[in-house]
């Protein structure tokens, strides 16, 4: 069954259809969230929240964008918003500016690709800037607004991320 059929069914309350949508898209959403958080437990919580919000918002989905684009946009909004609610996120961001050492990411038991193995080692803010800019096409100005940092900070964090990852290759 296609996404469009399942979207219609799920928007009318069909949980089986929503589960099919979940099964088709969860790997992409989980990957995106895990790259931003590098924390399995937090990624689990956020992905659950994202799909619950997707279920609630499905009746408003008008089909103008691809479902995956809509879902990823929702995932990004929920991910960043929820992360910002957490005090430890701010603490980590401060720490990220101070240290250049590799962070030990909670990625045990996850099957990560070569790029992901590098990404999860980046400090928090450096990683978020890299993921949002290099992989999700956000501009530095948009990232600055999202993360509440200066545009220049976003640019320098991106430069730093690339340098660090090149060193680790």
């Amino acid at each position: 069954m296609s996404d469009s059929n399942d979207i219609k069914l799920a928007a009318n309350g069909d949980k089986h259809a929503f589960k099919r949508l979940y099964e088709r898209h969860v790997r992409g959403v989980y990957g995106m969230v895990f790259r931003l958080t590098a924390d399995r437990s937090l990624a689990d919580d956020l992905v659950q929240e994202i799909f619950v919000q997707a279920w609630q918002s499905l009746p408003k989905f008008d089909g103008r964008a691809k479902f995956s684009t809509w879902l990823f946009s929702l995932a990004n909004n929920v991910g960043i918003t929820e992360m910002r609610k957490q005090t430890r996120w701010f603490k980590r961001n401060e720490r990220a500016v101070e240290f250049n050492t590799k962070e030990e990411a909670d990625s045990t038991t996850l099957d990560l690709g070569e790029l992901d193995k590098l990404i999860v080692q980046l400090p928090e803010q450096t990683r978020q800037v890299f993921v949002l800019h290099a992989l999700q096409d956000y501009s530095h100005q948009q990232i600055a607004d999202m993360l509440n940092i200066a545009e220049g900070t976003s640019k320098s964090q991106f430069f730093r991320a690339k340098k660090m990852m090149q060193e680790w290759l």
Binding site: V26, W55, L135
Partner: protein, 178 residues
């Protein structure tokens, strides 16, 4: 920094952008989502239930009118009717009504034992309307071969009766004078 490593990283990024890798989540993730969806559905159902009954006798009467129309319509569709009381639908309906009577009796006894009584006139009227609707369905089943839709209507009427009783005791409990 060698040019080679820069190109290597750029190649990894380009590959990811053209075909983003997903990451397999833990298997139990869906269970948590499903539980939250279920909780929301139950809450939504409860709210709509309250709203429905809060609308009062008008809503109930309108719904029961729809039941009467459906029963009447189905009752006249019986082309090759079996003799009354032979239909398996009728037998199932009789069983459902008997079970319902026991459930209603047990529910009312329970509330009375807890010192609660309900002397609401509107409640009595609505219960009577439900009883009339149930009787209409039963008569329609007795006069034709019956169908699953009629049983479904009966089930719906029974559910409304139980919900109405529970709701009335929960919303307007009156302590019995001892």
């Amino acid at each position: 920094m060698s040019k080679n490593k820069e190109q290597q990283l750029d190649a990894l990024i380009a590959r990811h952008r053209s075909d983003p890798d997903g990451i397999e989540p833990p298997e139990s993730l869906w269970d948590g989502i499903e539980q939250r969806l279920q909780a929301q559905t139950t809450e939504r159902h409860d709210n709509s239930h309250r709203t429905w009954w809060a609308a009062g006798g008008g809503a109930l009467a309108a719904s029961l009118l729809a039941v009467a129309v459906l029963v009447g319509y189905n009752g006249t569709q019986s082309g090759t009717a079996k003799a009354p009381y032979e239909s398996p639908y009728y037998a199932a309906a009789a069983q459902m009504i008997s079970t319902q009577a026991q459930q209603v009796s047990a529910l009312q006894s329970g509330y009375k034992l807890a010192g609660l009584e309900q002397n609401d006139e509107q409640l009595a009227t609505q219960l009577q309307q439900l009883a009339n609707a149930r009787q209409s369905v039963l008569e329609a089943l007795a006069s034709g071969p019956g169908n699953a839709q009629q049983l479904e209507l009966l089930r719906w009427i029974n559910e409304q009766e139980l919900a109405l009783l529970e709701q009335s005791y929960q919303q307007k409990p009156t302590l019995k004078q001892i």
